[in-house]
């Protein structure tokens, strides 16, 4: 048995059955980090003492006593005095932080290339990007450098890299998981969530980390549905396929993988229904105004006075978004930009509400691609920020609506992973997970491992 092949649930079982010790477990992963991290650059820093099931934590989560940089040079050397709620909760579940994973600077990016600490490489093809912003977190899971990892999804930063690197990434509903101690990008959109080797792992981690903590006023007490009930098949389930997610710009090979996955879902008993989410085309524009507005305010505290370094350590993308957001909020522009974008956000939310509305024959879940393409070459889009922004086109709408979504392995195009996205109504992670798990159990994509 190869210890590092096991998913979280199997690892817990093996530990319970004393098939190996915790020391052997952490040793096996530490060994792999030593062997592969130099090349993959999944971790910014490694923990010297790992006392529990090894988790890789995106470097935006504050970890007491452990450097936390948010992928930015401005915070190099910053050691927080406190743990993020999510980290604190994992520590009570016999999980130990094995390292802080690489990410785009302040989670701003779709490729991992905006990290101040170098790009993380895609384990399936090291000349390709891993996706972002939770780049190191997906690479670490895909390459078995940890049992699972934590990421944050603001406009797709868990789902998109999970798709490009062939792992499971769950973006919970906004407010399902506390953001306390997570260095924010855009506060109204940030969703911490798990990146795992299997859907059942995502379910387990979500259960550990979700629920209000008394520190995040937007974290709601909405009980997760019974975790033991799982579907055998998808009989009677209505799955919506939005036509806007299959337009121009979707790579034909990716499209055929997704169509194949939809066919599989139909075989499993689901009723496939064509739907429309008419405001999808405005999502990216609205997102970049709202997100950058919040960014411009959230990053004001990095003034180089009390902690961190001076502001010339901010990267290009960060500066770009600070300027964009500052402009959108400026007196005289607020109504034309911020306010209008907020209205678009409401319309996008309504798109989903209508699509899911049971009284008008709405669907149970929505499926589609996560990313219009597979992983691209490192450096390919770095000088074209707009092309980079458009790679988030299928993930951003769910972020604006605050609904849960998952990316799970749905096949391969040109030997690169393609993620299948499943979206469900607000606070219905149970539906996302149930459908994903049935699909996973009836396919073998997740069993493939990259050759390192």
């Amino acid at each position: 048995m190869n210890i590092s092949d096991l998913d979280l649930i199997d690892t817990i079982n093996a530990l319970d059955n004393k098939q190996f010790s915790l020391n052997e477990l952490t040793g096996a992963y530490s060994e792999r980090i030593k062997k592969y991290n130099g090349e993959l650059n999944a971790f910014i820093s490694e923990n010297e003492v790992v006392d529990g099931i090894p988790v890789g934590v995106k470097d935006v989560f504050c970890t007491a006593g452990l450097q936390t940089t948010a992928g930015s040079k401005i915070l190099e050397g910053f050691i927080p005095p406190y743990n993020a709620t999510v980290v604190e909760r994992l520590l009570t579940k016999d999980v130990g932080v094995i390292g802080k994973t690489n990410c785009d600077e302040f989670a701003m990016g779709s490729s991992g290339e905006n990290s101040g600490f170098g790009v993380s490489k895609n384990p399936w093809d090291k000349s390709k990007v891993s996706g972002g912003s939770s780049s190191g977190s997906v690479v670490a899971v895909a390459a078995d450098l940890c049992v699972f990892s934590l990421g944050t999804d603001t406009g797709g930063s868990i789902r998109q890299p999970a798709s490009l690197s062939g792992v499971v990434g769950l973006k919970p509903s906004y407010g399902r998981v506390s953001r306390y101690g997570v260095i924010p990008m855009a506060s109204s959109l940030d969703c911490p969530g798990p990146i795992t080797k299997s859907v059942r792992d995502a379910r387990q981690v979500l259960q550990w980390i979700s629920g209000p903590d008394g520190y995040d006023s937007n974290c709601f007490n909405s009980k997760l549905k019974d975790q033991s009930s799982k579907l055998e098949n998808l009989k009677g389930l209505k799955i919506g396929v939005p036509k806007e997610y299959f337009g121009k710009g979707l790579n034909p090979e990716v499209e055929s993988v997704i169509q194949g996955a939809i066919k599989k879902l139909a075989e499993l008993g689901a009723k496939i229904i064509d739907i429309s989410l008419p405001h999808t085309e405005y999502a990216i524009a609205a997102y970049y105004i709202l997100m950058s507005s919040e960014v411009s305010s959230n990053l004001a505290r990095f003034d180089g006075i009390r902690f961190g370094k001076t502001r010339d350590n901010f990267g290009m993308e960060v500066k770009r978004r600070i300027m964009l957001g500052t402009f959108s909020l400026s007196s005289g522009y607020y109504d034309d930009y911020f306010n209008k974008a907020a209205k678009v956000r409401t319309l996008i939310k309504k798109d989903f509400e209508e699509a899911f509305n049971p009284s008008t024959g709405g669907v149970d879940v929505i499926v589609g691609p996560v990313s219009p393409t597979t992983a691209w070459n490192i450096g390919e889009k770095i000088s074209d920020p707009l092309a980079m922004y458009l790679s988030d086109i299928y993930t951003v709408p769910a972020s604006l609506a605050g609904i849960p979504g998952i990316s799970l392995p749905g096949g391969y195009a040109n030997e690169l992973p393609v993620g299948l996205q499943i979206l469900a109504p607000y606070m219905r992670e149970d539906l996302v997970l149930d459908v994903a798990e049935v699909y996973e159990q009836n396919t073998n994509w997740h069993k493939e491992k990259p050759r390192l």
């Binding site: 935006v60 936390t68 927080p80 005095p81 520190y215 006023s217 305010s297 911020f338």
Partner: protein, 444 residues
């Protein structure tokens, strides 16, 4: 003096007031640190939230919201069923997040009013909730920051530009201070900075109804009397400038009490664009009718209500009632003393008289001591009609002016006759009997 000058002015002042008051909640506005920072060791009441550390989030203190609503309701505001916190973005070393959580487009309470003693209504634009900043301290060449005050709940009360005199501003500000203390929401101490005043003042030609195109903001003024002086100085300065044909512009000014002048602090060009937007870390604040009813039911008696009660139920004069209701402590002392006094057949008026005219220190004199001394003195009081009558006759012959005034309808003039009799009795005559007797004698 100011009013005498105002008559010669071609311009009339337009003044609006902003009052900040720090709430006396147990913990801060958005974290669990103790809110009492006064004279505490610097940076000991702090946490990741009020230090603005990366990743820290605000969490609403309901006690502060309730106290803000209490102020709003006492000022007859409408409570917004939905309101929001918003971010006010600006850089200053005492503001660790780079923005202050405040309210702008969606305040908790709006459209209130307060009536001044002459009957004028001051319209209140808004009562909103925000957080205080840290405190800069200058030590020689260095400036250091104490974050103990960072995040302490602050309520801002903004009036419409309804004032035309400095005296009205003073009365309004003092009434609010009294209100805060009655509501027990703040110590409202000006010197400690619990309560801070800012005035916006400009002049317009008499008869003009639209607001002037400029306004001068008077800031960082920490006493009522400095504010009055600064406003009076500004009225004079601005009217002189306008007279000279100067075009006045938006400006922030402070008060220099040594030189007795206001001085410029910031010009319009340096004014901030605060880039307000809804605070994304906090949900909308929903206030239900039930909550409002609950807070209303907890509303203590307000100063004006108490005054009315003292006048109507206990027969106290309006001016005495005003003084007795200055603060809740004095009122409680008086009422407890009255309760005891009535049992001893001492009238509420006598108790009031004792407290107000004899300068009883209510901190040091117990209620029992007070009433006992009244009872003892009563035995020495001269209420013998004949003795008083002879003194009264003397007083009438000695004060022809007061007598004719009284007969011409100036009923107050009788008080100087009463005073005269009291002096003759060396204070031992019963003033009520004296007054009644004088009235009888003068009626003829």
């Amino acid at each position: 003096m100011a009013q005498g000058e105002a008559k010669t002015l071609k311009y009339s002042p337009v003044i609006g007031l902003e009052i900040h008051v720090e709430l006396n909640t147990k913990t801060k506005m958005f974290c669990r640190c103790l809110a009492d920072y006064f004279a505490k060791k610097p940076n000991t009441h702090t946490c990741p939230v009020c230090l603005g550390l990366p990743g820290a989030l605000p969490y609403i203190n309901q006690e502060a919201i309730n106290k803000c609503l209490l102020i709003g309701l006492a000022l007859e505001c409408q409570v917004s069923s939905e309101s929001r916190f918003e971010r006010k973005n600006y850089f200053y070393p005492d503001l660790p997040k780079g923005y202050q959580i405040s309210q702008y487009r969606w305040p908790l309470c709006k459209n209130g009013k307060l009536k001044l003693s002459d009957g004028t209504i001051v319209n209140i634009n808004r009562v909103h909730q925000e957080e205080d900043t840290g405190k800069l301290m200058h030590q020689g060449e260095d400036t250091v920051v104490d974050f103990n005050r960072s995040g302490v709940p602050l309520v801002e009360i903004v009036t419409e530009p309804d004032f035309t005199t400095s005296e009205a501003v003073r009365e309004y500000a003092k009434s609010l201070q009294q209100l805060f203390r009655y509501l027990k929401v703040s110590n409202a101490d000006m010197e400690r900075g619990d309560m801070r005043l800012e005035a916006n003042i400009s002049l317009r030609p008499e008869g003009q109804t639209e607001l002037p195109a400029y306004r001068v903001e008077l800031k960082n003024i920490n006493s009522f009397s400095f504010m009055v002086k600064a406003i009076e100085y500004e009225i004079k300065r601005q009217s002189e400038e306008l007279e000279k044909g100067t075009k006045l512009t938006q400006q922030t000014r402070g008060w220099d009490d040594n030189k007795k002048v206001t001085y410029p602090q910031r010009e319009k060009e340096e004014a901030h664009d605060y880039r307000y937007f809804p605070e994304p870390d906090l949900p909308e604040i929903m206030i239900s009718m039930n909550q409002i009813d609950q807070i209303k039911s907890e509303m203590p008696e307000l100063p004006l209500q108490a005054q009315k009660r003292l006048v109507e139920k206990l027969g106290i004069t309006v001016s005495d009632a005003q003084i007795l209701t200055e603060n809740a402590e004095k009122l409680t002392y008086f009422e407890e003393a009255v309760e005891l006094a009535i049992a001893e057949q001492v009238s509420p008026k006598q108790v009031a008289n004792e407290i107000l005219n004899r300068g009883v220190d209510i901190q040091k004199t117990s209620i029992i001591e007070l009433v006992n001394s009244l009872v003892q003195r009563r035995s020495a009081v001269i209420s013998d009609d004949e003795t008083i009558r002879s003194w009264a006759k003397e007083a009438i012959t000695e004060n022809p002016q007061a007598v004719s005034d009284y007969k011409n309808g100036k009923t107050n003039a009788i008080m100087s006759l009463v005073g005269s009799v009291m002096r003759k009795s060396q204070g031992r005559a019963d003033a009520n009997i004296v007054k009644q007797l004088l009235e009888k004698l003068l009626y003829v």
